[in-house]
Each structure stands twice: as C-alpha cells, then as structure tokens.
C-alpha cells in the first residue's frame, strides 16, 4: 500500500508495508508484532514454527493460535477448501522457503504438495495433526491483524498491510490498474501476482497456491480486489476468487460480494461491484 496523504504512518511488518491513519503507529505496530511473533513461518521461535517442528501428534496451542487456526479452517469451509492452511509444504516446494528478501535469483523447484486439510483437527485448544504436516496461517493472519489494529483505532482512520485494508469511516482507495473506490465500511483486499514473484525452475512463481494442484495457480487474473464486511472476509474471498479463475466473478456474485478483476486484457467488475457503485453515483 502506498500512502498519499500526510497524516499516515508507515512501517514494515509481516514482510510488507503497513500504513496506519487515525491512530498511534506504535500501538498498531505492537499489534502486528504480536501476530508476527506468533505466526511467522521464518522466525524459528514463533509458535507456528514450534508447532510445525513438533513431533507430538497432539499439541496444546495458545488462545491466539487456536483462534487463528479456527478462522483458517472456517475460511477453508467457506471457500470450498480453496483457502487452505495446509499448503506450507507446497509454498516451500515452489521456492518461498525463507523471508522474501532472502530468496535466491533461481533454484530447483520441489514436488507439488497437495492439501492435507482433512488431517487437521482442532478441539478447543488441542491441535491434532500428523507430525510433519506444516501449517501456514498467513492466508488469514495478516487480515486478522489488520482488523484487530483497525478495531483499536480511537476514531476514524484506516489500517492497511500489503493489500489488506480495514477502515473506520469512509476512505477513498486507489485500485490496481487505475481507478478508485470509496470504502464506506468494512474492508478491502487485493490478492494477486503483481508482487511477491520469484524465479524457480527457470520460470516465475508466486505465492497463491492452488490446493487442487499443489502448485502456484495458473489463474488468468493478475489481481482480484474484493470488498468485505471485514478485512478478513475481503481477503479470504479475494484469494478464492483469484484461484477460481474465470469462475471468480460469478462465485463472488453468488455470495453478494463486490469484486474487481484485473486481467491482462483489462478490468472486469462483477455485478455486486458495479451495482452499488452505479446506484450511489446516480443519487
């Protein structure tokens, strides 16, 4: 996210730019630090790293971890298992196995790693999964952190991190490929391949893994932007719509979610996106 006015503050967290307006950046930074310390794949002392490294078949996790995993499992159910928290091995096989800034110019690509969602059970705070099954909760954690930080703002403002945005009061937001939209309430999220790309096996890879193949998605879209009643809802829906390819606009319309798709041939807006915008424009 690129800030364009003066009352915003920027800092780095979770491997991306965080922008906050209307609040204390130190407080927002503390929220992000707490979530990053718990869920980073690349910090060996994070709870996620310790859970992934544990040889125990059942582990008692922290309340924060249980909440995030429960959210991730619910997101998987809501998206027909497209947004999947068990694709850490697939992401590593595609080459994203260390902090993005440390990725080499190229290297060998690993074997596709399919979803193992059915092997994960969460009962209260007890996580059961076969040892060796690595979780990646980044599909929901950043959006949860954005929502948590926005909820902590004292008044109107917004919090944005790497394409994920939550607002308190209306905010005008620039969109990929040009244009803008006013986010009146809730959140706005963009998922796509405009950033976080790297080379492996002689070709470009990205971080949006299709659980049906265990490989980076071949979606025709470059970026999908969705409006949700929270940043989490928007982010989960944007990822699912991206992975669904040509079916993405209809999938969002079936759920009443406004979506905007940036492809190589131009921009496609689904009916839910175009409808309210035209309605408001006529009044």
């Amino acid at each position: 996210v690129r800030a364009a006015v003066n009352d915003v503050h920027r800092f780095r967290a979770m491997g991306c730019d965080v922008v906050v307006s209307g609040g204390d950046p130190a407080e927002t930074g503390a929220v992000f630090a707490r979530w990053e310390e718990a869920f980073s794949r690349f910090l060996p002392e994070s709870e996620l790293s310790r859970v992934n490294a544990s040889a125990a078949p059942a582990i008692r996790v922290s309340p924060l971890f249980a909440r995030a995993l429960r959210t991730a499992l619910a997101a998987a159910a809501d998206t027909d298992r497209l947004v999947d928290p068990t694709l850490a091995a697939a992401l590593a096989a595609a080459g994203y196995d260390r902090d993005f800034s440390l990725l080499p110019a190229d290297g060998p690509v690993g074997a596709a790693a399919p979803s193992r969602l059915r092997e994960v059970r969460l009962e209260g705070r007890i996580l059961r999964r076969p040892p060796g099954l690595a979780l990646d909760l980044n599909g929901v954690v950043k959006a949860l952190a954005v929502d948590a930080a926005a909820a902590a703002l004292p008044g109107d403002g917004f919090v944005s991190a790497g394409g994920d945005l939550a607002v308190r009061g209306p905010v005008d937001v620039g969109l990929p490929g040009g244009g803008a939209v006013r986010v009146v309430a809730g959140g706005l999220a963009t998922s796509g391949v405009l950033s976080r790309r790297w080379r492996r096996g002689g070709r470009e890879r990205h971080h949006l893994i299709d659980p049906r193949t265990g490989r980076p998605s071949d979606s025709p879209w470059r970026a999908v932007t969705v409006s949700g009643d929270s940043c989490l809802a928007a982010d989960v829906a944007a990822k699912a719509a991206f992975l669904l390819g040509e079916d993405g606009p209809d999938w969002l319309d079936e759920r009443g979610l406004p979506g905007r798709f940036l492809g190589s041939d131009g921009i496609v807006e689904n009916r839910a996106w175009a409808g309210p915008t035209r309605e408001v424009a006529c009044t």
């Binding site: 991190a161 937001v173 706005l188 949700g228 989960v236 759920r255 839910a272 424009a281």
Partner: protein, 85 residues
C-alpha cells in the same frame, strides 16, 4: 412290580417331556429375543449416539463468514492505494 415299573417309566417319560418342553420354550424365547433386538422397530440395534442435527444439515445452515462490505464511488483523491498481498 410290573405295575410299579409302568408307573416309574411313565414318570421318567413325563420328566423328559417336561424338560424338553422347558428347553424348547427357552430356545423359542431366546430366538424371539434376539430377533426382536435385531429387527423389531423401537429396539436399539446399535450403540446409542447423542442426539444432534446431521453434519450436512449443520453445514447447510451455517452462516458464511464472507459478508459484503460497503463501497461507493470515490469523492476525492485516494488516501491509499491497495496493492496485492
């Protein structure tokens, strides 16, 4: 003596008949009991499970967390630009 022998044999036959009838009754009762457990409506045929809606039904009525936000046309230059995550 012959008369006593006839009476004694009759008693033995009667005792045998009683035993056979009792055994047959127990056998019929046992078969009926097992048959009723296995087939009669109202009898529990497997281990009882807690009452609850079928999981497919619960899944169908569970509200999705994916709800739309509110958007409108912009009225001023954007404060931020959403990139991609």
């Amino acid at each position: 003596v012959a008369e006593q022998s006839r009476i004694e044999r009759a008693r033995v036959r009667a005792r045998g008949a009683k035993l056979a009838l009792g055994g047959l009754t127990a056998l019929v009762f046992g078969l009926a009991f097992v048959g009723a457990k296995g087939h009669a409506a109202g009898h529990v045929k497997h281990r009882a499970r807690p009452l609850g809606a079928p999981s497919a039904f619960e899944q169908a009525v569970r509200q999705s967390a994916l709800q739309a936000g509110q958007i409108a046309p912009p009225v001023q230059p954007p404060s931020v630009v959403t990139s991609t995550s």
